[in-house]
């Protein structure tokens, strides 16, 4: 198999995150969080993966505009699709975690609303795609949309929550991130590997989608 090592690495890293994340020592005594701190290795990497996939899509959009090669349109759209999957998983897991720490499924919070609007921006990307029939036109329109969407997404999901005055979510507003809670470095031993594993898995799923889209596109051209 061609270049399979990183896919195996993804699987091994996530298995380590599952086993290590549940069994290795962690700060289990943090206020309302308690043992659910171990969600860190699963909920947070969803968002990191989404951001990386959207970055690849963004690069695909720029390359499309530079070369007019439609394969970059397949790349941009496939990576957005996979990114939305991870974003929705991130929202669902975050909402569930919130229910049993903050006591409610959703709160009016800069981090939560920013993330929700961020995902909607990319759902709109799909509505835009489906509204244009011509391939070439669609590729250019959506690439330009992507050019604006990604920086706004980053602002909504990272910068705007940090600027908020108060927040319940860690590392936004007046709250601290996990790095200040992880005094024994126990979380780090799993977290970094988990993030790498999930990002690799996301890239894998997105490239599968990309390759399939390319097969279909070339097939239609013939």
């Amino acid at each position: 198999m061609r270049k399979m090592w990183w896919k195996i690495l993804a699987v091994v890293f996530i298995l380590y995150a599952i086993v290590g994340g549940l069994l290795l020592p962690a700060p289990d005594d943090l206020g309302i969080i308690q043992k659910s701190i171990r969600n860190l290795h699963f909920h947070v990497p969803m968002w990191f993966t989404m951001i990386i996939l959207l970055l690849v899509s963004y690069i695909g959009g720029i390359r499309l505009l530079a070369t007019n090669n439609l394969k970059f349109d397949s790349m941009a759209s496939s990576f957005v699709k996979a990114a939305i999957l991870f974003g929705l998983i991130g929202l669902a897991t975050g909402s569930f975690w919130a229910r049993f720490t903050w006591g409610t499924w959703w709160v009016e919070d800069a981090k939560l609303n920013g993330a929700a609007i961020g995902i909607m921006i990319y759902l709109a990307y799909y509505i835009l795609r489906s509204s244009i029939e011509d391939d070439v036109k669609r590729s250019k329109f959506t690439a330009v949309y992507n050019l604006f969407a990604f920086p706004i997404f980053i602002v909504l999901i990272i910068i705007y929550p940090r600027m908020a005055e108060t927040s319940l979510h860690p590392a936004s507003g007046d709250t601290v991130g996990f790095s200040e809670l992880d005094l024994d470095n126990n979380l780090r031993k799993v977290f970094y590997i988990a993030v790498l594993g999930w990002i690799l898995l996301g890239l894998w799923i997105a490239t599968l989608k990309y390759r399939l889209t390319e097969i279909k596109r070339i097939d239609e051209d013939i």
Binding site: M1, I205, I218
Partner: protein, 65 residues
């Protein structure tokens, strides 16, 4: 025939009293059972992805020809 001997082994496992495996999976409030189940689910999903990967690869090869 080999599959039957493996099946037989699996069925007989619960009949064996206190294997080293039992010691592990009955300890620590059975958290190891959760770990095992999550691992099984994830490995299954990974295997599915590998299969999908090889199928797409086959399609790509067919298209090149």
């Amino acid at each position: 025939m080999r599959i039957f001997s493996i099946l037989g082994l699996l069925i007989s496992v619960p009949l064996l009293a206190q294997t080293p495996m039992d010691d592990l999976f009955y300890s620590s409030g059975k958290i190891y059972v959760v770990v095992a189940i999550m691992s099984i689910i994830f490995i299954a999903i990974a295997l599915y992805l590998f299969r999908l990967d090889s199928k797409i690869k086959k399609l790509e090869k067919e298209q090149e020809e």
